[in-house]
């Protein structure tokens, strides 16, 4: 049971009720005002005409999990920074210095991730582009030589 002396709750309650009203109202109104029709392709996943193949329940690459891990850790750091930001006037320059060191370590982690390529996703675009350029350059080079000969 909550203790007899409790925080002021009514702003929070009003906020919660407003959120529910807004979300419910949007669903309610769009239910009546929305256009409803039933055509041949209405129930397709992509109504534009692309046919879906297979299910969406694929095995995900483990790389997504890595990104989620980064998200968790940076999220925790955001929590610490929030507690600093709320108490910013009380902790003064000492707290500022502490949070600067904290953020500097975070930036170091971010640079490390960036350099090691942990944030890279999918096919290596740069490598493909380089190989392509190399190929093109080989062709161009011959042309230039031809022009000079003429």
């Amino acid at each position: 049971m909550p203790s007899p002396s409790y925080p002021t709750l009514w702003p929070f309650l009003i906020y919660g009720i407003l959120v529910l009203l807004l979300a419910g109202g949007m669903l309610f109104i769009s239910h009546f005002l929305g256009e409803r029709h039933q055509e041949k392709e209405t129930d397709e996943v992509y109504e534009a005409g692309i046919e879906a193949t297979g299910t969406a329940r694929l095995l995900f690459p483990v790389h997504f999990y890595l990104i989620a891990m980064f998200f968790v850790i940076f999220d925790l750091e955001a929590v610490f920074i929030i507690s600093w930001a709320i108490a910013i006037r009380d902790v003064g320059w000492g707290g500022y210095l502490a949070v600067v060191i904290f953020v500097a370590i975070l930036v170091a982690v971010l640079i490390y991730e960036w350099r090691i390529g942990a944030l890279n996703f999918g096919p290596q675009g740069k490598k493909i582009l380089r190989a392509y350029r190399h190929k093109i350059k080989g062709v161009n080079h011959n042309e230039v030589v031809d022009k000079q000969n003429n």
Partner: protein
Amino acid sequence: MSLPTILFWILAVISILSAIGVVVAKNPVHSVLLLIVTFFTITGFYILLNAQFLAVVHIIVYAGAIMVLFLFVIMLMNLNASGEPQKNNLVKFAGVVAGGLLLIVLVAALKKADTGMLIQGSTNIGLIQNLGKVLFKDFVLPFEVSSILFLSAMIGAIVIGKKD
């Protein structure tokens, strides 16, 4: 009944129902969504207890980040509703016995617990501002050490995840 008491009972009912739903739901994604509902009601308890920092952490970290991890694990493991193996009765029975024993231990421990030491009335230590004051004045060094911990966690995740 006062307003916090009414809120407490509403939240308690929702949290217990959604927690049962987490266990009962067949689809693991539904379990995750119900777990998010449970976390939100627990956040409500924290606010009733004047622990706003815990409430914020619970929303941001648990309902946000940890649930993302759970969803990713479910997708990585590819738990189809049809692919889930049916557990036999022996395993179910063992689970019921183990869970019941845990419940007995918890109830016994809580019945013996001394509540006389609890501070009655509201404290302000749970407010974010007071926590920030304590954290950045008295516990600066542990705070910086925690950032080193984050660094090592991040590098560990990279080393494990990039094994190709």
